[in-house]
């Protein structure tokens, strides 16, 4: 029992590895924020382009969205980091992770935006038309605000999973929380750093996923009320 405490819950080790934890956290924050911003922007772009294309061409974007959603994140990261250099495209480790997560996130975001636009009832368009709104006014004042509201909860949960996925960067040596913890484990010859890393992941991700579940719940309640 004391063996377990010494190797996994060792307070003096936990206090010693502060610098590792901090630099790991900083990297995690940087990679998460960059990939969330890029994913949402790119996802919005994909949605807009997809809506303006007719079938043979829009299939390319459908393939983009479905293909990226089906790809294991590790596989994509390995592909970007180990295969693209053969084409002369060299990414640093953090940029390779950001690029992969952003690509994959953009596919999910595009699906979310598409669903949100479809979720605005057709009657709203008809009503806007009957009230003499121009097409631009209709989009700006009627469709986009409502679609945005529908999109926020799933977008939040997608953002949470992107934060979670930064850990996969470990595979190509990204010095985020898990990578730094492994390093600290080797240096201290003690497994406490791994436990500390897991605890920090939980401390960050538990509230975030609670928050996104709450948003989803409130959103559904709002919809039910609106339909009455």
């Amino acid at each position: 029992m004391s063996d377990v405490v010494h190797n996994f819950f060792n307070l003096s080790v936990a206090l010693d590895i502060g610098p590792f934890v901090l630099s790991g956290l900083r990297m995690m924050l940087y990679v998460s924020l960059a990939s969330i911003v890029l994913a949402v922007t790119l996802g919005l772009l994909v949605t807009i382009v997809r809506r303006s294309l007719r079938p043979p061409l829009s299939w390319i974007l459908i393939a983009y969205v479905d293909g990226l959603r089906a790809m294991p994140p590790v596989m994509l990261i390995v592909l970007v980091y180990f295969a693209l250099p053969f084409l002369g495209v060299n990414f640093s480790i953090p940029s390779a992770v950001i690029a992969s997560l952003a690509l994959q996130g953009s596919a999910y975001a595009a699906e979310i935006f598409r669903g949100a636009l479809e979720g605005v009832p057709v009657g709203q368009r008809d009503a806007a038309g009957a009230l003499g709104f121009t097409s631009i006014q209709m989009w700006r004042h009627v469709i986009v605000p409502q679609a945005f509201r529908i999109a926020i909860p799933p977008l939040t949960s997608e953002a949470v999973s992107l934060v979670k996925l930064t850990s996969v960067g470990f595979v190509i040596g990204l010095p985020e929380l898990l990578g730094e913890a492994r390093l600290a484990q080797d240096l201290t010859n003690n497994s406490t750093p791994l436990v500390v890393a897991a605890a920090i992941y939980l401390a960050i991700l538990l509230p975030l996923s609670r928050f996104s579940a709450l948003l989803e719940f409130r959103m559904q309640r709002g919809l039910v009320r609106a339909r009455r």
């Binding site: 596989m75 979670k164 850990s167």
Partner: protein, 225 residues
Amino acid sequence: MRLDLLIDIFFNWPLWVSSFPALLSGLKITFLLTGVTLVFAMAVGLLIALARHTRIRLLNWLFVAYVDTFRALPSLVLLVLIYFGLPFVGVKLDPYTSTIIALTVFNAAFISEVFRSGLQAVDRGQVEAARALGLTGSATMWFVVFPQASRIVLPPLTSNVIGLVKDTALASVVAVPELLREARIVQSIILNPSPLMLASLMYLAILVPLVRLVGVLEQRVHRPG
């Protein structure tokens, strides 16, 4: 960018052919990990769902904490903890066992929630009607509740299988020779990333149909009758 260069590097047919046997053996391991984990996770998930159905308060709290924890934690963290951490207290698990344990713990958490919502979604009146018609408790479960719940459960369960297949690729971190690992090994021998592209296409060949299937199944749930 020249097309012939692109083909030579990613879509090199002779290299695809020569690396195919290695990737196929990797694919088998991927399927093995998925299958074994799914069986364990469904069994554990069902037990947890039924335990929560009993509404014993302490049990309920315990499983809520379990489900929340493993829905929030990245699965790679647990895998690394099991494989690289446990040897420090003398518990040395081989890569396969470590992977299957880690993935089971995660997927059981998801699946228990899926099963629970499926059980809850079946109207109480259905159970009462079945009992009024003289069906026993277990017959009610088997012939009335489960068939109706299964239709609700199928789309999220399929989503879970997709996530599980993707997660098996994490096992390459602990050197399980699954698809991704095999592709990396072949790539480092022949110094050409075509095997990585082929492995990606194999994942897509399995997972794109499943992603589409989830969409179809989801629409079916919303349709009455």
